[in-house]
Amino acid sequence: MSSKTITIADVYAALETVMDPEIPVLSVVDLGMITGVDLNDSAVHIKMIPTFAACPAVSYIQHNIKTVLEKELGIAVSVEVDKQEHWHSNRMTPAAKEKLKAFGIAPPKVLAGEVSAELMMEVPCPHCGSEQTYLRSPFGSTLCRAIHFCKNCGQVFEQFKPLE
């Protein structure tokens, strides 16, 4: 890479290979965790945000971004948690939602206003597509997931929660 100039697009291409440790089919770009890329001749500075405030993987993700980018781009990389922005589920790309579904996790519905009990009802089952489902618990195996049950295929499934 050192023979040609690194572009912002190169940085994003490299970021797309940094996967979320809890959902390994989604990159930090898919999840909408990247809020800024500052590039100059010798270094790149990345601003990112965690999905949930108590996400235990934040420092691990920061470290992964730095390691992967330094290897791919061959320049110095710094990664900072952006305090001006906060993560909400509409930041997730449509492509990411398809990948989530294929991975067996129901994607969050698009949020028009605030999160409500109704929004957590009849979430389509990622396995059979049925909307004959109910919320078993708003909490799941990680902070970002809820547990639902599908009456049609008789399976418990997880959903990536909508977040304001």
């Binding site: 405030a53 906060h86 999160v115 618990s137 909490f139 902070l143 547990i147 977040l163 304001e164």
Partner: protein, 253 residues
Amino acid sequence: MNNAALTDLIIKMADDELIQGHRNSEWTGLGPVMEEDIAFSSMAQDKIGHAWALYRMLHEELGGKDPDTFAFLRPEKEFKSSHLVEMPNGEYDFSLMRHFLFDLAESVRYESLQDSSYEPFRLLSKKVKGELKYHTLHANAWIMQLSRAGEESYDRMQQALDKTIALAAGIFEPSQLYEEALIEDKVYPGETALYHRWLDRIYPVLVKASLNLPEISAIVPVYGGRHGVHTPHLQSLLREMSEVFNLDTEASW
């Protein structure tokens, strides 16, 4: 902006989150059904995350100590947690009622901070407010469900409410020293205003659950925690919570 007043308010909020978070974590492995075990464990993680964000605010914006040191090495007297969060978990009815009353109090508090003149509060409150939605969704659902689950269940929920309401009202103890300054500086609307917003918020859920809120004028809020007067339960909680940290306070995790 009055830094001493801000510091006092942030410590109260953070200590409540930390201690309630620790109490929630005590349900891990002991919940009555698996979903509830997971729910209290997840809420523990959220609460401790919110406490951490507030301790970081103290550290980065107001010259406070490192968050871990501040959380784990402070003597009991310097904690400003409310008596409500210090109480042992007891039975599930009490834990759920406390969770309901505490999380609705948190909701009105963080909603009010969206209009704070203090920028770090405005930024953090957006994040916390969204996450709290799931805590109140969980609390409201269980309060209604168990209050409609037969006579014994209803009686226990009513007794839990009667036992907890004065403790919960104690969350809103106004500061003797700083209350006026914080209101004047538009940091937040003050404890008395939040107390009334909270009553308005809990009331419709209690009505749906057919639970009787005791006469407001008869509620004597349990104060003390905000100025270092604690229940006997706090000391043993702190000892257990900081046990591992104290093995080697300089260790890097």
